[in-house]
């Protein structure tokens, strides 16, 4: 019997090295600087919740961390090893897409709008990464996909297509799809923002379970309750930089920065 623990990070680096780290991350879109030097690190088994106003660059940070888009400047390190790009002759050189694809395999990503593949049923959605990325044989992939679906409570929905699942179920399939590849870190981009309120709980439950089992997670969210309960640290992100970072209790009860106090007044 597999449990989610099996999916949690395989080897890693020396103690003290963060699982994922970004240094001085910059990104500009159409002349507008969206990331202005983000410094962020997460250790193995840690859960970090990222809060912040709309348009502040949270999704951009996650997309860059997941190597889905090139950074303009800065470095991304997985277990202390730089990924995505290298410096050659003082200039940043991004790796070609095929190499990035390989490096992405250690990083799982869950999107706000689920982005399940509509032409595949739930089981095939979860199995696709195994067969096409990890070259797992079809039958074994289906078996592992089925187990992972069962772990997120959808063992009875394996032959349903995304259009036949509720939003909460779709997002759980999306989590299983990322998880089945044994990523070292999972990135969540507002995983419950597109859900009807009554469906939020089932997704948060799965994520909390995952956190309890030791998965390394970065969760961009507006769910204060989740941040309080599941996160080891809460981060306020604003206007392209990290403003404040603290343990949940401290963050919510005794924020240090004026910007954080302001933000929390809006959320509460």
């Amino acid at each position: 019997m597999t449990d989610i623990r099996d999916a949690v990070a395989t080897p890693a680096a020396k103690p003290g090295t963060p699982t994922l780290e970004v240094r001085d991350l910059h990104k500009t879109y159409a002349g507008i600087e969206v990331l202005k030097g983000v410094e962020f690190a997460i250790d193995k088994g840690q859960v970090k919740a990222v809060l912040g106003p709309s348009g502040s660059g949270k999704s951009t940070m996650l997309r860059l961390m997941a190597l889905l888009e090139p950074a303009d400047r800065g470095a991304i390190l997985l277990n202390g090893k730089r990924i995505g790009a290298e410096d050659r002759g003082g200039r940043m050189h991004h790796y070609p897409e095929r190499r990035l694809a390989v490096e992405r395999r250690d990083i799982g990503m869950v999107f706000q709008r689920f982005n399940l593949f509509p032409h595949l049923n739930a089981l095939e959605n979860v199995a696709l990464g195994l067969t096409s990325v990890q070259d797992v044989a079809r039958e074994e992939a289906k078996e592992r996909a089925y187990k992972m679906l069962s772990r997120v409570g959808l063992g009875d929905r394996d032959h349903h297509y995304p259009s036949e699942l509720s939003g909460g179920q779709q997002q759980r399939v999306a989590i299983a799809r990322a998880l089945v590849l044994n990523p070292q870190v999972m990135l969540f981009d507002e995983p419950t923002s597109a859900l009807d309120p009554e469906l939020v709980g089932e997704v948060l439950d799965v994520m909390e379970q995952l956190a309890d089992e030791g998965m390394t997670m970065i969760v961009v969210t507006h769910e204060v309750r989740f941040a309080r309960r599941a996160a080891d640290q809460v981060t306020l992100f604003d206007s392209g930089i990290i403003v404040e970072q603290a343990e949940p209790e401290e963050f919510f009860e005794n924020p240090q920065h004026e910007r954080t106090k302001q933000f929390l007044r809006h959320v509460h």
Binding site: L68, E97, R98, R104, F111, L116, G129, V133, Y161, A178
Partner: protein
């Protein structure tokens, strides 16, 4: 000279018509295959961000959109063998010349259909595939194409029907397809009404069959657990490309543009990027 049912029925079962009909379908099918393959790469070029892919693709589309099919067929059959002696050989038949000629003309239109179908696939799809660690080719083949094919099927069916009709142009290069068969009969007997009526019947039957086939194929792309077959959609996808390989022009030339506008709102930056990466890969190996 009244309509003589006897002549009509006699011709209806004349094997020459059946042969002509099969030839029309075959020319249409082969040229649609050619057009789909070329059209796919032209569509990738058109959606590329790199000018050195976009330019040639645009010139190709511009050229073959402008050339009348009839002129191209005449060039294929009369002019090319003069320029390329190898084409004087026996294997270069009117069938091949017609299939390639119509395929080239058609490819400009298929490129538009395929481009708009690729664009209609949500950005998030390729993004999710890439996030899983899939390489550009896998993202294209396993994620984007199966969804694009569903969008491209209806207009491609129209193109196939159009190509069956356009195959009659190949009479100028002495291909005995359906309409030419009727015309030859007319030239001998002057029984216009009866011979043309037979041709009408054949065209009606062919188009009816194609329409039935098309709706059958489209049903397989319903993506629902109720009527979906056991096998994965991916295998069906390849099957479909093979089956629906052939097609029309004017009407369809307008259609994809209409869909393209609404689809563009959804946009396909990711699909384009994946497509581009594919081209990049090709370029890199050269």
């Amino acid at each position: 000279m009244l309509f003589d049912p006897e002549i009509f029925f006699q011709q209806l079962i004349n094997p020459a018509y059946l042969w002509g009909a099969l030839l029309s379908i075959a020319v249409a099918a082969v040229s649609l295959i050619i057009a789909t393959v070329i059209g796919f790469f032209i569509a990738l070029g058109n959606t590329s961000k790199k000018p050195y892919y976009r330019g040639p693709a645009a010139i190709y589309t511009w050229f073959f959109r402008a050339i009348p099919a009839l002129l191209l067929l005449l060039i294929m059959w009369n002019a090319l063998p003069q320029l390329i002696p190898a084409l004087k050989a026996d294997w270069y038949t009117p069938f091949i010349a017609a299939s390639v000629g119509l395929g080239l003309v058609e490819s400009a239109f298929m490129a538009e259909i395929i481009r708009s179908a690729l664009n209609s696939v949500d950005d998030g799809q390729a993004l999710a595939g890439r996030a899983l660690g899939m390489k550009p080719a896998a993202v294209m083949i396993k994620v984007v194409l199966p969804q694009a094919i569903r969008t491209a099927l209806p207009p491609t069916g129209n193109e196939f029907i159009g190509l069956i009709k356009y195959s009659s142009l190949a009479s100028v290069i002495s291909l005995r397809e359906l309409l030419t068969t009727a015309q030859i009969g007319v030239n001998i007997t002057f029984r216009y009404a009866e011979y043309y009526a037979v041709a009408i019947i054949y065209y009606l039957v062919i188009v009816t069959l194609v329409t039935l086939l098309q709706s059958k194929v489209e049903k397989r792309f319903a993506w629902s657990s109720r009527n979906a077959p056991k096998r994965s959609v991916r295998t069906l996808g390849t099957q479909t490309v093979a089956v629906a390989t052939a097609a029309s022009r004017r009407r369809a030339a307008d259609e994809p543009d209409e869909t393209a506008e609404t689809d563009d709102e959804l946009a396909a930056r990711e699909a384009a990027e994946a497509a581009e990466a594919r081209l990049e890969k090709k370029g890199a190996t050269e």
